[in-house]
């Protein structure tokens, strides 16, 4: 765009840039506050309502939550389902997407329609719960990974991505004696790393944030992912649920600091991964949203 030097246009730019800065500040300032406050000593937190740059540091919130075996365990559970679950997601999604991307696969059209239909209609919570129960997956971490192996949306996006790769590559590989499995794992997947990175982020965010499935399928508090503890500590301890299981002992640090420390501990892993993948996912999300 050619620079517009009229003062009205410049004023427009200035106001626009300032407003957007305000908007993005609103988006992140709660996190900045919570991170800062979680490291702040309790005296300082009592004196000032809002702390962004603590002067007196304290780790007592973190010391408290990391001394709780169940919480530490739940972070382990979350890491486990995120890593293993995402690997399974990528494996299952890419193999199926690749098979469906090949035009010489008979029956792919009805299969695609069946997949599309699952995005419009589902058995619902209760029948799904009964299936999971009948398969014996209640109270098992598999119930958090297997029922969400393939996101139909991601599958369809990945399939159209595979279809956009030049077909000559596959032809050449076939002439060199490569089988279908070889073509997928040696040629197509290495070429699809940015797309795979995007889906890895989307899937892992879903696993890390997974909360309600655990509420549905897992009763054993030793198998709870970190989000369930987060709810116990931050929300239940506060409001009118009436089934609070979390007891503050006299030696515990102020509840507020503990809450913030749990929020940070349960959010940081995702926020750390995010900037590294951001470049890819913006492209990937576009791939998903406007193809046409």
């Amino acid at each position: 765009m050619v620079q517009d030097k009229r003062w009205g246009s410049r004023l427009f730019d200035g106001i626009n840039a300032a407003l957007l800065l305000l908007v993005s500040t609103v988006a992140v300032i709660p996190f900045l506050y919570i991170i800062a406050a979680s490291f702040t000593a309790r005296e300082e937190l009592l004196q000032k309502t809002f702390v962004l740059f603590p002067t007196k540091f304290s780790l007592e919130g973190y010391r408290y939550i990391f001394s709780n075996d169940l919480i530490v365990r739940s972070i382990g559970v979350s890491i486990y389902i995120t890593v293993l679950g995402t690997l399974l997601n990528l494996l299952f999604t890419s193999t199926m997407a690749y098979a469906l991307a090949r035009r010489d696969l008979d029956g792919r059209k009805p299969i695609m329609l069946l997949i599309l239909f699952t995005m419009l209609f589902s058995g619902g919570m209760i029948p799904t719960y009964l299936v999971i129960r009948d398969m014996g997956m209640l109270n098992s971490l598999w119930s958090l990974m297997i029922p969400v192996l393939i996101s139909p949306f991601n599958l369809i996006v990945l399939r159209s991505f595979f279809q956009s790769l030049p077909g000559e590559l596959e032809e050449a590989a076939k002439i060199d004696g490569c089988k279908d499995l070889g073509i997928l794992f040696k040629i197509v997947l290495p070429l699809s790393m940015p797309a795979m990175a995007t889906f890895a982020l989307f899937y892992s965010v879903t696993h890390w944030n997974s909360y309600f499935q655990a509420v549905l399928y897992i009763n054993d508090s030793k198998l709870w992912p970190v989000q369930v503890w987060l709810r116990q500590i931050v929300i239940v301890a506060e409001g009118g649920f009436g089934d609070a299981q979390y007891n503050d002992t006299n030696t515990a640090p102020p509840a507020q600091i503990v809450k913030m420390a749990v929020i940070v501990a349960s959010t940081l892993p995702i926020l750390v991964v995010y900037p590294f993948l951001q470049k890819h996912f913006a492209k990937g999300a576009l791939l998903g949203s406007v193809k046409g």
Partner: protein, 322 residues
């Protein structure tokens, strides 16, 4: 929800396959056997976890007893549906869902468009990327964290917001245990979490607007506002319409986790929606058949709404989703 590549479904090269002689197809299937091996795990997944539950829907026409199973339970026809439609709860749920959906459409829906337009006007690409990185962040945290943050900021005793109100000499407001504030809080949370992320699709549409149109508008003496009004907005009109229609199609789909986390005994009357009701009656109280019937009602209405919305989108001259 926009399904990409959906139109390529019909564009495949297998259209003629049906008319070919059988042996050729069989030969092709044998030749491609490894492709079917690749397809199998995924197909099995869809069969077991998507289609088997659909079969389970039959329990909403039964008095399902877990130890008798689907084959042994007594059939009762539409009794559960009759009970649900004559229950006061049905209207409460419909009202609560409608209120939240309307607030969502009026207050949340336009915001990503506005922010995308503003981002699009930025001159510096670097500044734009920096702001985008920031505004996407809330999308990536869980609803538990969002609601947790809201509790930290808005609780009556310790919440910063109420402390500020008290310092300024106002009464404290019980944001979290109030019926009046519930829909406001829900809508505000959605706005905070998803506005930034929602800009992506509009930014993509904006990137496709023909740059030469701006040049000629400028030559015609159009200022920034007029350019936005006469070039930019018409350029993304199609995207806006299609997303709006699809949003209408998802009318019953309140974000369940969020509401589940925000509902408590003080605001349940205005907070309960179909999904939370299914959870309470089904999983908590064990009325499997009744709650499955409620769930089926929701699924069927949802399906009809989405299909209608799609039809509407096509009718308004857009491509539609499928």
């Amino acid at each position: 929800m926009v399904v990409p590549g959906a139109h390529s479904l019909s564009g495949g090269g297998t259209a003629a396959a049906g008319s070919r002689p059988r042996p050729e197809r069989l030969g092709r299937i044998i030749k491609n056997r490894w492709l079917y091996v690749l397809l199998l795990p995924g197909a099995l997944y869809f069969a077991l976890f998507k289609y088997w539950p659909m079969w389970g829907i039959v329990i909403s026409f039964q008095n399902y007893q877990p130890f008798l199973g689907i084959s042994g339970s007594e059939w009762v026809g539409f009794e559960h549906f009759r009970r649900f439609f004559t229950d006061d709860q049905f209207w409460t749920l419909l009202r609560n869902t409608s209120v939240l959906a309307v607030l969502n459409i009026v207050f949340f829906f336009p915001l990503p468009i506005v922010i995308a337009l503003m981002l699009n006007e930025l001159r510096s690409g670097l500044y734009k990327r920096f702001l985008q990185t920031l505004i996407y962040v809330p999308h990536f945290v869980s609803w538990v964290v969002v609601v947790g943050v809201v509790y930290i900021f808005f609780s009556t005793e310790e919440g910063i917001f109420n402390q500020l109100l008290a310092q300024l000499g106002f009464h404290k407001i019980n944001f979290l245990l109030s019926k009046a504030w519930f829909p406001v809080m829900i809508t505000a949370e959605v706005i905070w979490k998803e506005t930034g992320w929602g800009t992506i699709i509009f930014l993509a549409a904006l990137a496709a607007v023909d740059v030469s149109l701006y040049e000629s508008a400028r030559l015609d003496g159009a200022g920034r506002w007029r350019q936005m009004w006469h070039v930019t907005l018409p350029g993304i009109r199609g995207t806006i319409i299609i997303l709006f229609i699809l949003r209408l199609g998802q009318f019953l789909d309140t974000s369940f986790e969020q509401i589940f986390l925000m509902v408590n005994s003080a605001n349940r009357e205005v907070g309960d929606v179909y999904d939370t009701y299914v959870y309470m009656t089904g999983i908590r109280q064990g009325q499997f058949s009744y709650s499955a019937a409620v769930g089926l009602f929701k699924s069927v209405v949802g399906l009809v709404l989405v299909l209608l919305a799609n039809k509407l989108a096509k009718k308004s001259g857009e491509e539609g989703v499928f």
